[in-house]
């Protein structure tokens, strides 16, 4: 029997380990310069998601809604969609409106591309923002499908012509923290290669204090840069569990931009892959500061190895985050005993086998389509020492008396979720420090002696 059996036992879902599809699309649209995410559905979706996203980022997150009522559900949501976009234009002066559907509008069969075509015809004289749409029925997939779908939609609907070749790289980072995106752009800057990171939430969801309230925060991937992605030397897209067709494959298929698909650069070896690819694309060796970062990471691995070696971890969250964590934890000798994701059919087991090959001491139980009820049921007998994942695992960490190392989304029971670093050698080191310290803190708290140095 495959270890990656999808949840066979329970019909009901308890404490889901995933979020809904339109949320991922909204987050991605939020990372485009001048972008306003727009949910075509009832008002509640936008409001719930705003609240949820705000709790992690602690930033204003305006998501517009077509606010459909009962009549619209019967006669179609087209008029509300158009009126809603007009109102967003009036109030926000957006550069882009990213329209994502919801279960309601998908089920009533609203044809959003047609509505948008009509809209362009009816109001073309107004100086329209870019309108991008993505189909995100919440009964299909998870927020990561929404994210990847939105990224692909942005690429396919905005980048429609071959741009002149340039010394530039496209990076599709997936759902990573604002800090991680900043780190990625810093790395490319140091390599001396221009980068289009899509989406770029580093500023739009982690902005500075300003003189005045801005309707749309500054930052985000410029629309112009998206249009020129076809002229890049290559695309780097993070994720070993991505859908077959993505923004990266689309650029490769249509414009011959080589697509380099790789895992999230978490830990030493996955970061090596990323840096080596950048070296190839930029034609320059990595700057010395990254040699140093790499060296420091290995040095720390050695210095701290006895604290963590042989510890047992349960990890959960988005499929590619789980794969990345597996790669990293294998390197430091932490045995991943259970790896769970709410997503289904993403090839997580194969991805974990790839990234831990030759390093991990054991293959974890891999579970797709799980909720926390399933994870808890299995984890009891697996006796984990650590949990690694987002805030929603806290109730289990508390019940089992083990530390939870918070990564991913949402982190809404700690401060600074948007600034958690995980990528590259530097991110790995930061994550490593946190894990080692969590183990030490636990040992210290459980020990009656009260050692003041460890």
């Amino acid at each position: 029997m495959s270890k990656a059996a999808t949840k066979p036992n329970f019909v009901s879902t308890t404490n889901a380990c995933k979020l809904c599809t339109p949320l991922g699309a909204s987050l991605a649209f939020r990372g485009v310069e001048g972008g306003v995410p727009f949910l075509h559905g009832s008002q509640g979706c936008a409001t719930y998601m705003r609240r949820y996203v705000i709790s992690h980022f602690r930033e204003p997150v305006d998501i517009a809604s077509s606010a459909l009522g009962e009549k619209n559900a019967i006669y179609g949501g087209g008029p509300n969609l158009k009126k809603g976009i007009l109102n967003v234009m009036k109030k926000y002066e957006p550069g882009l409106v990213g329209v994502a559907t919801t279960c309601l509008t998908e089920t009533i069969g609203d044809d959003v591309p047609r509505y948008l075509a009509e809209f362009r015809e009816e109001f073309g004289d107004l100086g329209l923002p870019e309108l991008v749409n993505v189909s995100t029925p919440s009964y299909s997939g998870t927020h990561m499908d929404g994210w990847h779908g939105a990224v692909r939609a942005l690429v396919e609907q905005l980048c429609t012509a071959k741009a002149p070749d340039a010394r530039r790289v496209n990076i599709l980072p997936g759902l990573v923290s604002c800090e991680d995106v900043r780190h990625l752009s810093g790395i490319c800057r140091d390599f001396g290669i221009e980068a289009t990171i899509l989406p770029d939430i580093s500023e739009t969801l982690d902005g500075p204090a300003l003189e005045d309230y801005v309707k749309i925060p500054s930052g985000g991937t410029p629309v112009r840069a998206i249009k020129e992605m076809s002229g890049a030397r290559g695309t780097i897209e993070f994720g070993r569990c991505l859908p077959k067709h993505t923004g990266g494959t689309s650029l490769e298929d249509r414009f011959g931009v080589p697509n380099h698909r790789m895992g999230l650069p978490m830990g030493l070896r996955e970061s090596d892959v990323f840096f080596e690819t950048l070296e190839a694309l930029s034609g320059s060796p990595r700057p010395r500061c990254y040699e140093l970062e790499r060296g420091r990471l290995i040095d720390a691995y050695v210095d701290g190895h006895k604290y963590v070696s042989g510890k047992r971890a349960v990890i959960y969250g988005e499929e590619d985050l789980v794969a990345g964590l597996s790669a990293f934890l294998a390197e430091i000798g932490v045995d991943v005993v259970l790896a769970g994701t709410g997503a289904r059919n993403k090839g997580l087991e194969a991805a974990i086998a790839q990234v831990t090959d030759g390093v991990a001491r054991m293959a974890p139980e891999v579970r797709e389509g799980v909720d926390f009820h399933d994870i808890a049921a299995e984890a009891e007998s697996l006796r984990p020492d650590l949990l690694v994942g987002h805030s929603k695992g806290y109730r289990y960490a508390k019940a089992w008396g083990v530390p939870l190392i918070r990564v991913g989304f949402p982190v809404h029971d700690r401060f600074g979720g948007q600034r958690i670093a995980t990528l590259g050698y530097k991110g790995a080191l930061s994550l490593y420090d946190r894990i080692v310290n969590a183990v030490i803190e636990k040992a210290q708290a459980d020990c009656s002696v009260g050692y003041g140095y460890i």
Binding site: Q43, C45, G69, N72, N87, L210, Y213
Partner: protein, 460 residues
């Protein structure tokens, strides 16, 4: 380009400037980024704290996951309400219908958790695919021997208010089944309090001291058994703007139980609420008025000197508030007077015409009154009115913070008890902590202004 859309103008009013005729209770405007939620949200808010019931959200995963354990509604016993249950409908369910899945999910979850009742929330999609939730509930109720209650909370079928009504209808079906033989003639039900941060325990303690039995909490720290017998109480006390008012009316019709509207926020409203109860029962319990006066006196003796101390720092500071229901706004306007603070903006998601008329009465001239606001309007008025502290929920917090304005979370996610006399003290402390923080001097909007002021002073 203007911050306020033409169609929104009649949902905003300035106190003291002509007769108030605010347009409210209308659907949110498409594209306006309303702070409101949906019908499902209204139902979920009301029923969520019933701690020994199973709350199963019938729909795709989002609606369940965004409402998983995000509120500070505490329970003194079972905590089933803190788990998030969903049928997690998939594409095939949407095509072929979700009834079978719902039935199987109920079967499984009721066996696993042995709840005292189950609520099944319909979400948008259920209203479209036409599942007969009522029939499934009836069947499972018979099979499992507990009430299994459908909540007609399809998100798009109105606003939060319709959700309140759907929740009240579901609860009403529970009422009447329980034993009332030991209910005192001096007894109440607490409606519309959700026991955020243990607030209902503060209020119940006051009633205990007054000699009033509380039959049921509806719904904070709520129990199915209590709700089933709450028709035995002599009086319903209804807090919150309408979340449970429908239920009180239904009970008045069917069981002839009167209700009083109360608020446990702020000094006057808290005391008034207790006096109302004392007054209602004074014929049955002649000592109650005196006991209540003693209680209020004792509480105020402890509270007032503390408030006076904080008032010295807070005097003259300006407040904006945006709340879900307007009862909270009434109480807070008065509460801020005790701190010497001036309310310059007050708004709500679901206020009625009467609510806004009352707000117009109790606020100072020039106060902005606003229905169903959005981030841009709120930020516009925060700047225009030069607000020092904002009272609202998580969605409003970053708006305040970006503008360099203090903030007090007065919504369902709060972890600080703000009701009762001790809650008033917590409230004042929280406002004080935020307003008096040194961080504001570094926020550009204020730092630059301070810089300009200094410059002007030098130029003079």
């Amino acid at each position: 380009m203007s911050t306020i859309l033409e169609e929104r103008k009649d949902q905003i009013h300035l106190s003291g400037q002509g007769a108030i005729d605010i347009a409210c209770n209308r659907e949110s405007l498409a594209g306006a980024v309303s702070q409101r939620a949906c019908v499902f949200c209204g139902s979920r808010v009301v029923l969520y704290p019933i701690a020994d019931a199973l709350h199963l959200v019938h729909g795709p995963i989002g609606c369940a996951v965004y409402t998983w354990d995000i509120r500070g509604a505490l329970s003194s016993g079972p905590e089933l309400h803190r788990l998030s249950f969903s049928t997690d409908l998939q594409e095939t369910d949407v095509i072929f219908g979700g009834e079978k899945k719902l039935e199987a999910a109920l079967d499984e979850l009721i066996d696993r958790h042995s709840p005292k009742a189950a609520f099944v929330y319909s979400t948008c999609i259920v209203g479209i695919i036409g599942d007969d939730v009522e029939a499934v509930c009836r069947k499972m109720s018979e099979k499992k021997g507990i009430p299994v209650l459908p909540v007609q909370s399809e998100g798009f079928k109105g606003s939060k208010r319709e959700g309140y009504l759907a929740a009240c209808k579901a609860m009403f079906r529970l009422i009447g089944g329980g034993d009332t033989s030991d209910v005192s003639p001096v007894s109440v039900n607490i409606f519309g309090d959700f026991n955020l941060a243990g607030e209902i325990w503060i209020v119940r303690e006051y009633f205990r001291k007054m000699g009033v039995q509380v039959v049921a909490n509806v719904t904070g720290d709520g129990r199915v058994r209590d709700i089933a017998r709450c028709h035995g109480a002599a009086l319903n006390l209804v807090q919150c703007s309408g979340a449970t008012l429908d239920l009180a009316r239904m009970m008045e019709d069917k069981y002839d139980i009167p209700y009083e509207r109360v608020s446990y926020l702020g000094i006057e409203d808290m005391a008034d609420s207790l006096y109302k109860v004392a007054d209602f029962f004074k014929d049955r319990d002649p000592g109650i008025v005196e006991r209540t006066q003693a209680l209020v006196r004792e509480e105020l003796e402890a509270l007032m000197p503390e408030l006076a101390r904080m008032r010295r720092d807070l005097e003259g500071r300006k407040v904006a508030m945006y709340v879900g229901g307007s009862f909270k706004a009434f109480s807070l306007v008065k509460a801020f007077r005790h701190l010497g603070m001036q309310v310059v903006l007050v708004g709500s998601q679901t206020g009625t015409k009467e609510d806004y008329a009352e707000l117009e009465q109790i606020t100072d001239p020039g106060t902005v009154i606003i229905d169903d606001a959005n981030p841009l309007e709120l930020s516009h008025f925060i700047k225009e009115k030069d607000v020092d502290v904002f009272v609202g929920g998580v969605k409003e917090r970053p708006i305040a913070f970006k503008l360099g304005v203090g903030f007090c979370d007065h919504n369902h996610e709060r972890k600080e008890a703000l009701e009762g006399f001790e809650g008033m003290l917590n409230f004042a402390r929280e406002i004080h902590r935020s307003v008096m923080s040194p961080v504001w001097q570094f926020v550009p909007r204020r730092a630059n202004r301070a810089g300009r002021n200094r410059k002007e002073a030098v130029n003079e």
